[in-house]
Symmetry: C2
Subunit: 403 residues, 2 copies
């Protein structure tokens, strides 16, 4: 049964090699705008720029990635310089006069899209927090904290004037922001007041695990009523399995910090249930969207297989195994790993394809665009390789699993 063995050290090497010898060089070599600053993210299969618009959240994510690599992997000057290159563009062009981060800029930094999207703020805060850790530059600290406080101020009405919903008819709360705050608060813990950290963590866990998680369904919904009830509407029926699975490793990190084994176990159970629900038994891979009542969802792209869904799921599974020894995590890790590494990485030109059709064929000839940048893959490769390495050190022998 050696074929089914998870040789942790070998897997760790696969993830680390892909990160350091493929994905990171791809962005270093192809994405800098040396002339006008910031990063290009619209890169074709070979890494050639096909559009020059600059999406603020992707700029922030890439700054975060290189600062985080500098802080956590190796203090390479090249990585820090690359992060600073993006940060300087963001500082010059990223915000309006009220400190809200625009959604997108043109190549030279003139605003293209209004700051309607609070995720631009979230990733800017993460970016400048990591950069402060790397440089101790007080300016970055101030920007990170100010942006975080602005997020908390806006969080109950994140779209502000750009919300097209008629007020009051069908009020819904969305999963994305509470979920991301669970991660952001740990990212920024060293900069924040301890009380705010505790409050944000406890609220985040409650929202994710008690409000959006529906015990009768065994699933997390993307939108629920203000009371946390099910809304039988397109928005209310929507399940985004990748989102739920990503949230589970945010929760595992919080459970680990709190030494809360019950919370950890619950996160593993939800992850496995979501994976069983979201897995495409016919072609493999995890669906992008499903309607919880089995109706057709609004999203025409529902059956596609996306890069971030798969790498985030791998983080969740390996962390779940590390913390609980639950063998289901390992069985699924191997299954998702095999699908992912057979379909997404581009051995010829580097990096990963982002979008596959249901059958697993490449749907978009790109490595980056408006929604795919330098973030999920490097973050996931590093997290997985670190956890796999810890497992390898704990237990030298391969584990046989019934895959």
């Amino acid at each position: 049964m050696i074929n089914n063995a998870i040789m942790f050290s070998e897997y760790a090497k696969v993830y680390r090699d892909n990160l350091l010898n493929d994905v990171i060089p791809f962005w270093l070599n192809n994405s800098a705008d040396d002339e006008l600053g910031g990063y290009f993210t619209c890169l074709d299969t070979k890494g050639k720029v096909f559009d020059t618009d600059k999406f603020v959240w992707l700029q922030g994510r890439q700054v975060w990635t290189f600062a985080m690599l500098y802080n956590n992997v190796e203090q390479k000057q090249e990585w820090l310089d690359f992060a600073l290159h993006g940060a300087s563009f963001l500082l010059k062009h990223g915000r309006d006069t009220n400190g809200n981060w625009y959604f997108s800029l043109n190549r030279s930094g003139v605003p293209l899209t209004q700051p309607y999207n609070i995720f631009s703020d979230c990733f800017a805060a993460m970016a400048f927090a990591q950069l402060y850790k790397a440089t101790q530059n007080e300016l970055y600290k101030t920007i990170a904290i100010d942006t975080f406080n602005n997020i908390l101020r806006k969080k109950d009405d994140p779209k502000r004037g750009y919300n097209k919903a008629f007020p009051g008819t069908r009020p819904l709360q969305g999963f994305s922001l509470p979920m991301i705050l669970c991660n952001l608060v740990l990212e920024m813990e060293f900069l924040l007041d301890a009380k705010i950290v505790e409050k944000t963590i406890n609220e985040g866990i409650e929202k994710v695990m008690d409000v959006f998680y529906q015990p009768d369904l065994g699933l997390i919904l993307e939108s629920v009523t203000p009371n946390g009830d099910f809304s039988d509407s397109f928005d209310g029926r929507l399940v985004n399995p990748g989102h739920s699975l990503e949230a589970m490793w945010f929760i595992m990190d919080l459970a680990d910090r709190k030494k809360d084994n019950q919370l950890m176990k619950k996160a593993v159970d939800i992850a496995i249930d979501t994976l069983v629900y979201g897995w495409d038994e016919e072609f493999g891979g995890i669906f992008y969207f499903k309607d919880v009542k089995g109706h057709p969802p609004l999203q025409l792209e529902w059956d596609q297989k996306l890069w971030w869904v798969h790498i985030e799921t791998l983080i969740t599974l390996i962390k779940g195994y590390y913390h609980t020894n639950d063998e289901r995590c390992l069985v699924w890790f191997k299954k998702v790993h095999d699908y992912t590494f057979a379909h997404f990485p581009d051995a010829e030109n580097g990096e990963w394809f982002g979008y596959l059709n249901r059958q697993g064929e490449v749907l978009m000839q790109l490595k980056g665009g408006k929604w795919k940048g330098c973030f999920h893959i490097p973050r996931g490769l590093l997290q997985c390789s670190n956890v796999l390495q810890s497992l390898a050190e704990m237990q030298k022998n391969p584990i046989l699993i019934n895959a």
Copy 2:
């Protein structure tokens, strides 16, 4: 070569049968909300309601369809009553206090989505104009004219406060509204001042054929700069072949009215060029979106095959042949007809599937939803069957074509 023969009378019968014995009964039987008024449009494969939201533009389109059938096919009381059923719901709930039509309502008619979308207004205007023709009720006439004038007032800033674009950085004009005005003005001609009709027609033709049509590309773009120039951006590079093809029969109708043979011929040429460009040589069918420079478009659904694209193209091709005798139209008509009737109609449960994947398999198990209602298919089936019938009467023998 009898297999390649277009027997116009037989084809006419196929379209008329599908309209009268399948599609129209499907909506009559399944879509009425007898309790709270208006129509359900979210119908599953068998016609069962799976969501009760009411999208104002689809309500308007369905009112238009049944009033139009009453006016143009047969004065069936059932059809008129069905149109009036939807109109009464729209009158009660459809507009804000300034006469703007909401985008969507909940089942009982309370607004769900603000009136950010000018197409709600366009289809309301069409609906009440047809209903006035059927009933001579002055109220409907007033609403149609008021709504038309409101559209003209809003047309240079159709999204009004809901536009997220930062003003001035990359101003673009969109193809949809000028295109639809080319059709709307003929629909409402009998209600409008002759000077406004002439002005709207001439402006519409100029916009579609001189501003959005790009002679160097041989294609129509969805967005161009205010001067009509190409914008090398995601929006500026976007081609929607179905949109361009639909617009060509609107232009043919105007060319016919103006007795402008040169305009007619140009519309046929653009239609054929667009079809050659948009046709999927591998799996058949017409792509939903393409990037004119061959880059990945933003739209993840770019390779899907949609019902409206195919039925609108059939109208264009048969009208093009009728007016010009251009044999390319007939060759393509047969090719698109064969693909369409092999893939979209559901012989078992009636009506057409709306969304196929690139391979031609059903992607969404629905007959109606947020974007598909009772409109394109009945309109297209009637237009095609009428033109085919005229061709059959003009020329009794089959025409052999080199398909």
